[in-house]
């Protein structure tokens, strides 16, 4: 029942996605081809994974600007482990753990240091990017050599049950996040904190623990996205992930989650990420000139948010 209600509350953004897909399909016949749709899904999966982590954070009325830097750092770490001859069994957990730890540090700074999430994660964004530059000396780290490099590359290029692996991973993450947010006490507490943090604290919810956890989750999922991106390129760029926080936040907001916290959900974020992914794909298919692309993207996002706001106030 909750799933249906969630879906109905997100239906405005879903409607937006359907309209966008219809318009694009009419404008170019190439869009609805299976290969293209799989491309869109694969390209969207990175942003979707990051945005799902971001949903937890934004639901608590927080924000995580450091996702791009965590993505890049975890990816670079994974690439160097692969190049050094390590197997996937060691590389993936270590890279994920890095993201989890970095996210937790942001969370601790925010809860115990009482630093505004915007500032704390902005600092992480800068410091971690700097750390990555030092670690990589500003040059890409190659992940195409080493015994596990083919298996690693398969994470980005491979297929499972006819779907690209990044898409499968995104769907699994979606399922887990949805269960956590809607079926567990933890999820309920996340919403409660976003609704009114003081009331939540007074009702006995361990706000510090929950808040730290959501940033840890955001870090973990950013690291996962970083691993997949690095696998897809077989290389970790020092510039990877720059600006990804904006696309992730846009996906969350377009999907119906409020930046003020307490309202929204994972399903909306997935729809939001798809809207952005479809848009990026359409701009290329339609050969829209580079100078107009940013205007087009910004306008569609604004439109999607306005439509959603209309729906909510009714």
């Amino acid at each position: 029942m909750t799933f249906v209600r969630h879906f109905l509350s997100q239906y405005k953004s879903l409607l937006g996605l359907v309209i966008l897909v219809t318009v694009v399909s009419i404008a170019t016949p190439n869009f609805l081809e299976v290969a293209n749709l799989l491309n869109v899904l694969r390209q969207t999966s990175i942003n979707a994974i990051i945005a799902m982590g971001g949903t937890f954070v934004i639901l608590t009325a927080g924000i995580d600007l450091s996702v791009g830097s965590v993505l890049a750092l975890a990816g670079a770490f994974a690439a160097s482990l692969i190049a050094a001859g390590q197997g996937l069994a060691l590389t993936i957990p270590l890279a994920l753990l890095t993201g989890l730890a970095l996210g937790a540090v942001s969370g601790l700074v925010i809860t115990f240091g009482a630093v505004q999430p915007f500032i704390a994660t902005l600092v992480s964004l800068t410091v971690l990017r700097g750390a990555l530059l030092v670690f990589s000396s500003g040059t890409p780290i190659d992940a195409s050599s080493g015994p596990a490099s083919d298996a690693f590359a398969a994470l980005g290029d491979g297929y499972v049950l006819g779907l690209p692996i990044p898409v499968v991973v995104a769907l699994v993450v979606f399922a887990c996040c949805w269960v956590i947010l809607t079926q567990t006490r933890f999820g309920r507490y996340v919403y409660a904190i976003g609704g009114n943090e003081n009331v939540a604290r007074l009702s006995g919810i361990n706000v510090a623990l929950i808040k730290t956890s959501v940033y840890a989750i955001s870090g973990l999922l950013s690291a996962l996205a970083g691993i997949i991106l690095t696998a897809r390129l077989q290389s970790a760029q020092p510039t990877a992930g720059q600006g990804y926080e904006l696309d992730a936040i846009a996906a969350v907001v377009v999907g119906g989650t409020s930046l003020a916290g307490g309202i929204g959900g994972i399903a909306g974020t997935l729809v939001g990420a798809l809207i952005i992914g479809v848009l990026n794909n359409a701009l290329n298919l339609l050969d829209v000139s580079s100078y107009y692309q940013m205007i087009a993207k910004g306008s569609v996002i604004l439109l999607a948010v306005l439509v959603d706001r209309q729906g909510r106030s009714n």
Binding site: T28, N30, E33, A35, N36, N39, Q43, L133, S137, G138, T139, P140, D142, D157, L229, R232, L233, Q234, S235, Q237, P238, T239, A240, N280, N281, L283, N284, L285, D287, S290, Y291, Q293
Partner: protein, 302 residues
Amino acid sequence: MTRRLLAMILAGVLVAASAGMAAAADKIALVISTLNNPFFVALSNGAKAKAKELGYDLVVLDSENDPAKELSNVEDVLDQNVKAVLLNPVDSDTAKAAIRAATLNQVPVLTLDRSAKGVKVASHIASDNVAGGVLAGNLIVQQLKGSGNVVELEGQPGTDAARERSQGFRQAIAAASGIKLVASQPANFDRTQGLNVMENLLQAHPDIDAVFAANDEMALGAIKAIKAAQSKILVVGFDGTPDGVAAVKSGALFATVAQQPTLIGSLGVETADKVIKGQTVPASIPVPLSVVTRASLGAGTP
């Protein structure tokens, strides 16, 4: 007698001290757009090496692709009494303020790799991006024997490099009537975007014969997409970064138009030295580009 001796010793010490102070190195500053890119890292290293050789103390500041940061970097180095500023502008239109600040302080400015519009500098040292684009275009026309469909992956909209390389490329292919530019999309000099955009373009245009990417990073991303689609498409990149050259050697990338960033940095310091010493220098110093192919690397045919 003792007083004279003392005076002589004091004079001697003073002469030695002032000689010691004069031997302290002169400072030059390199304000670079970003160190987040192997091209600029190489430029900076070239400058550092030359500075060491000529006996200058080189201060390197990173503008992080932000014109405001660039302005404050220049103001900071002017406080440090530098003898010259080597500026690699973040954006050709916004460097005016920084350069004016330096000129007001009588510190000569030389621009590296990107020019500054609307203001005069002591010298401009850069690769000729238009000529590079022409080289790439001609190479593709030659390889396709004058007819075929080509796609262009553009760099970051608004930058000189993107604009000029595209200009040169289009100039070259316009001359060949059988070559059709079926699509031209920006991938912002980024490898991931090169991959995603190429994937999308392969969907829209199933019959692409060649791709020109305005830098090696985008070219390498495009190559991944082409490999996944199991197509055979000729790819030409730009920059000659280590990863790009490695890809040419392995046969994945057909060619790259190599800039010589180390030489740009080195020439920058050399020219600054001449300006500081009061010698005349040319207003613009074009740094030669070269096309890197498997043949030119001596690697033989794949």
